[in-house]
Assembly symmetry: C2
Homo-oligomer: 290 residues x 2
């Protein structure tokens, strides 16, 4: 490694944008870069997101809630184009000072309530509707164990493995090895867990599955970073079977379409304001392709 001999300075200074794909959205400071309010639709829940794995967690949850008959879970999903810096608008920063998608505003109470971090949103919706989070104390605790597990583990997959394997401007062997090892360890944790029970937290499909599937399920299904072969995804047979089972759910298929901006165009529903949108796919083409 030719970095041998590099000595960090006493005080770090920003040398400006660098760092491969998505570099332009990384900054060493927080706060808004421009003034713009967020749009607000008619439904009780206003979601501001994009179809990344963290975004899919929440759209899966909304679609599952609606499919389960919770009519109060109707939502407007607005597209936040993170590559264009939409997450740095004054309106977005007000509802999520961390400038990351997804962010939700809950209008069901007396005052609008901001909810950010995908795990917090899943828990908020589960508690609001009494769904996908077991009431039994032991089962609820185990579900939350795995919900928090996902939050603390996936940064090694997304910010670590995915970045260095797929996006960094050059391939750094040490970093790829480090994060590949951890990603495989995490897949093995899940594989052992799923060897003994149908769902992550036990006998029922919960927000733990919805948090974990968009990352680890899609990883073994070959949809993230083109890394299924590299990670030997086939060897995690229990994860793969569970991933396919979830992938076949109609609500999950709808959830994957919402705020999606890449891949097959027929799978992209840039904004979602009603169940009928899945049929018509009235994407925001005016702004994007004229």
């Amino acid at each position: 490694m030719s970095d041998t001999g590099y000595t960090p300075p006493e005080v770090w200074t920003w040398e400006g944008e660098s760092g491969g794909q998505f570099a332009s959205i990384n900054r060493p400071v927080a706060g808004p870069t421009h003034a713009r309010e967020l749009p607000v639709g008619d439904h009780p829940f206003q979601l501001y997101s994009m179809g990344t794995p963290n975004g899919v967690k929440v759209t899966m949850m909304f679609e599952e809630l609606l499919a389960a008959g919770h009519a109060g879970a109707e939502y407007d999903a607005w597209l936040i184009r993170i590559g264009d810096g939409d997450q740095f608008s004054s309106g977005f920063v007000e509802i999520n000072p961390n400038s990351k998608i997804p962010a939700l505003v809950d209008h069901t109470g007396e005052a609008p309530l901001r909810v950010f971090e995908s795990g917090a949103i899943l828990l908020h919706l589960a508690e609001t509707f009494g769904a996908f989070l077991p009431a039994d104390r032991a089962a609820r605790t185990e579900t939350l164990n795995w919900l928090f597990w996902q939050m603390g583990s996936a940064p090694y997959v997304g910010g670590g493995f995915g970045h260095f394997y797929a996006y960094a401007p050059e391939k750094i062997k040490y970093a790829i090895d480090r994060f590949t090892m951890e990603t495989k360890r995490q897949l093995d944790v899940l594989d052992r867990q799923l060897a003994e029970r149908p769902w992550i937290a036990g006998e029922s499909y919960t927000i733990a599955d919805m948090a974990i599937w968009p990352w680890y399920g899609q990883l073994v299904l070959g949809r993230l970073y083109g890394a299924a072969t590299f990670l030997d995804a086939e060897s995690y047979a229990n994860v793969l079977a569970w991933a396919k089972k979830i992938d076949a759910r109609p609500a999950v298929q709808r959830g994957r379409m919402v705020n999606r901006t890449f891949g097959d165009e027929s799978m992209q529903l840039h904004e979602r304001h009603s169940p009928a949108d899945f049929e018509t796919r009235t994407q925001d083409r005016i702004g994007t392709t004229g």
Copy 2:
């Protein structure tokens, strides 16, 4: 960078231990490496942990609960030496299949209940005792926003910045720049949040503060990675003032001592079984120094 030209193989294979300090505890597989049961003491809560930032979150919480008069929060804290692989024992894996500290067993119900992931443990204890998590819906939601924020953000500090700045066998400029930028962004998020309110989630001291302080508070106090100057910690004045305010709390000072194995010996209480242990510090010296 002399890594130029490195091409990852089609399928990754483990080349064995490498990767600087703590390398020996990183593996690409999960599961136990040896059979050993965990010790169990007399108190309702059995904690298996070590005095890292994630460990301190929970011992802070227990000591704060006891200081606030929740006598039911008495606990035994057992030391899990992660450098020795204690987290890979059959007993530990049973209560946390992810083999990370801290892990808790709650014996207050009909059957022992495992709780793992520091965020899940904080939430579990907060709900069990109705403490440090506001009952008001808006304040509770905001507290959980920041609890989840910490879980998803700190891996960039610990597994990213700290690793590449302090522990990796060589200094890789690209990786250090990447994770320093993100760490500084996160500190700025907190600094802006704390500019307008006394505690992270608003008007009261909550589990969000207890999750965030051991990482970000100790970082600006210069206790992690020797990086305060490098990160220009003084520039995050609101974080620094908040960090000092929390650091002065007697319960936090006790929490920091529990399961601690480094630094000033007078600050190390390897195991904690009663409030009196803080006076006598009957560390497990038999096993460690003869």
